[in-house]
């Protein structure tokens, strides 16, 4: 496949691995921020090719994993109503709420549909004027422009039966939360390429300076990741802490300006709870007050008081912060599997626990 295979070329990868080995002299702990990067690393086995001095810590960048339980319970409650068509990206469907997931809501007769684009949810709203169509707007800055656009189109079309349940989170505050944690061991970041494709990386520059931590904006193919890791280790070895861009074919320093404008037209920044981490100040988007008629939390305001119960066994919060590895959890592969997930990190294929379970279980079980 053109433009993909080039970044998976075994010879080029071997050379890049060799270069990393050549420059590594000390122990380094670096975090890949995005779940998509974790997925590539474990799926292709990049972690097995690196020098043993380098520890990869898997970051909190999995939108499914950090969506708070209360929000999932709200989604389940809304989706159960007979007058609702509830639309969501696919991997939210198996995320466990306190008592069930969206698949079981569907089995109970709820009208739950997977959409590939939020604009498909708008189409459904046009097609079914007698139903309330709700879109579960989950994700980081990457999905925010499309979600904002869906809302905007619904508004332009004058649709009264469309609303969005917003649980958008932002990457930089989460990185700061990691760095501020008393358990932090992260010395450098492989920053999330797709988030930066939208937002650019200007906002990372003060953070790198403040915490003296280098960052490399990195893509998602094996060669991207190895090059990003190389650039990061080089900075660490040389004592630099700059923001560099490996993913130049997609990312500009200022980001995608029309996409950012669309976001700011629709959303404003507010505090957000992260599953397993807690409330992080200014870490998410919410719909602007003037659009509250489209805010599912307001449209279905009678669902405000839901008692959410987290599993006592699950340590996904520590996994998301990079403090623990998935297989260090006593429930890993026992009480908690992709079939019976206790936490969201076991559900999404981007979640660190699912990635370890699916691809690395045998490796971890034999050491």
């Amino acid at each position: 496949m053109k433009y993909i295979d080039e970044y998976r070329d075994a010879d080029l990868i071997k050379k890049q691995v060799q270069k990393i080995h050549e420059i590594t002299t000390k122990k380094w702990a670096v975090m890949e921020v995005c779940g998509g990067q974790t997925h590539t690393i474990v799926k292709t086995g990049i972690d097995q090719l690196l020098p043993e001095e380098i520890t990869l810590i898997h970051g909190p960048g999995c939108p499914v994993c950090v969506t708070p339980l209360e929000m999932i319970d709200k989604a389940l409650e809304i989706a159960s109503r007979p007058d609702v068509i509830f639309t969501s990206f696919g991997d939210m469907l198996r995320v466990p709420g306190s008592h069930k997931d969206l698949f079981s809501v569907k089995a109970d007769g709820g009208n739950v549909r997977i959409v590939y684009s939020p604009l498909d949810a708008v189409k459904l709203a046009q097609k079914h004027p007698d139903k309330k169509v709700v879109f579960f707007a989950v994700g980081f800055e990457t999905t925010a422009p499309a979600n904002a656009m869906a809302f905007w189109q619904a508004k332009q079309l004058g649709l009264k039966n469309f609303s969005i349940l917003v649980s958008h989170v932002l990457v930089p505050p989460a990185m700061e939360a990691v760095l501020d944690s008393p358990f932090n061991s992260v010395q450098g970041f492989v920053a999330a390429g797709h988030v930066c494709a939208v937002m650019g990386y200007e906002e990372y520059e003060p953070m790198a300076k403040k915490y003296k931590v280098p960052m490399v904006v990195t893509g998602f193919e094996p060669l991207d990741l190895l090059q990003g890791i190389y650039m990061l280790i080089k900075q660490l070895e040389e004592g630099r802490y700059e923001v560099e861009n490996q993913y130049t074919r997609a990312v500009k320093r200022e980001g995608n300006i029309p996409a950012k404008e669309t976001i700011y037209k629709v959303f404003e920044i507010g505090d957000r709870a992260w599953r397993g981490i807690g409330v992080v100040p200014n870490s998410g988007y919410r719909l602007k007050e003037e659009f509250s008629a489209y805010d599912a939390e307001k449209v279905f305001s009678d669902i405000a008081n839901i008692q959410s119960i987290e599993s006592e066994l699950c340590i996904s919060g520590l996994v998301l912060q990079g403090v623990k590895k998935p297989h260090e959890c006593p429930a890993f592969g026992k009480e908690c599997t992709p079939m019976t997930p206790l936490g969201a990190t076991m559900v999404s294929s981007e979640g660190a626990c699912a990635a370890y379970y699916n691809y690395g279980r045998y490796r971890t079980s034999v050491g």
Binding site: M1, V42, G45, F103, K106, D108, D120, V138, S349, E350
Partner: protein
């Protein structure tokens, strides 16, 4: 989370399906023919070994690039017999129709079934039709059963598998699943991919003509390559190693999977077979397969090993390795 209702995932061919069979059906009916949970049961009647199988077909939409529910209903059952080493002979069809289905569509389905029977060389010898109220079916559901005869000396089962044996696939994977997805409501995308639905009995016959030592065969339908090979790893208690760069995945399937966030190893096929054969006969079997149109792209994709028992391990093209697990339920598209 314990399921107290049937979920769609129970029909995905993954872990939920296995759980349902093992906890619900197997305890009720367990016997020596059912317990191996093969694609077909092998029973002995008056000294003749008969393979017997049944399968129900619920495909949405019923027409798709490269075929229809009529094709897969015949080919699927023919293939379940063929991979048991049997020569398929007779099939039955039970058809459940939904009130309001256009007669013209039924005619097309029946015509596809007729052509598929002729191509496979089987006869449809008994059948049944029922009609359900509008909204209680999805146009048409078809169940087919089939029987075939197994020649003396052929012993296809997971316990025959030995370390060192080679794993063969007869061609590129993932076409059927992607062809169906490309026409599914809400997800229409343009692709040149057609379903690979085809009868495999003639190919299997060619293979058996050069070797009676084929250890195991499966047609990797729902759940794809990974589900079939995981079942083999578990039932044989051996390890399986696959070589990513040897697994034939068409460019267009790769591209669709990239966009949709799916893994081709889990995508359904309707005209593929996996065979485990002794190493010294592998090349010869591949050669004969390549002379048959259904096997022209046949190749060796891995081997059975006396290591990582019960697991399927993939050597990635960049030199790492990973476990290829069975899916829990349906493959879910990712957010970003």
């Amino acid at each position: 989370m314990k399921n107290n209702k049937i979920l769609l995932g129970h029909g995905s061919g993954g872990k939920l399906s296995a759980e349902l069979i093992n906890t619900m059906f197997l305890p009720a009916f367990t016997n020596e023919f059912l317990s191996p949970l093969g694609d077909q049961a092998i029973v002995n009647i008056n000294g003749t070994r008969i393979a017997f199988t049944t399968d129900s077909y619920v495909v949405n939409p019923i027409f798709f690039p490269g075929g229809s529910i009529g094709d897969v209903a015949v080919n699927g059952t023919v293939n379940d017999l063929a991979v048991g080493g049997a020569q398929p002979l007779y099939i039955s069809a039970g058809v459940i129709l939904e009130e309001g289905m256009p007669m013209e569509e039924l005619e097309r389905v029946v015509s596809d079934m007729k052509n598929a029977c002729e191509r496979a060389g089987v006869q449809l010898v008994t059948g049944d039709t029922k009609v359900v109220e509008k909204g209680k079916g999805d146009k048409i559901f078809i169940n087919t059963s089939g029987i075939g005869v197994i020649e003396e000396g052929i012993e296809i089962n997971p316990h025959s598998v030995r370390p060192g044996d080679r794993i063969i696939v007869n061609g590129p994977i993932g076409e059927h699943g992607i062809a169906i997805m490309s026409v599914r409501e809400g997800l229409e995308f343009e692709t040149a991919i057609e379903s690979d639905t085809a009868p495999l009995n003639h190919l299997v016959q060619d293979m058996l003509n050069v070797s009676k030592n084929i250890r195991w065969m499966r047609d990797p339908t729902r759940g794809g390559l990974s589900s079939s090979l995981n079942e083999l790893a578990q039932s044989s208690k051996k390890g399986i190693t696959l070589h990513e760069s040897d697994i034939p995945v068409p460019e267009s399937v790769k591209a669709a999977c990239e966009i949709l966030g799916l893994d081709p190893l889990y995508v359904a096929n309707e005209g593929k077979l996996l065979a485990v054969v002794p190493a010294q006969e592998a090349e010869q079997i591949v050669d004969v397969m390549r002379k048959n149109p259904q096997g022209k792209d046949a190749r060796i994709i891995g081997e059975v090993v006396d290591d990582h028992h019960g697991y399927v391990l993939l050597k990635t093209s960049i030199g790492g390795n990973r476990v290829v697990d069975m899916l829990a339920g349906e493959q879910l598209p990712r957010i970003c």
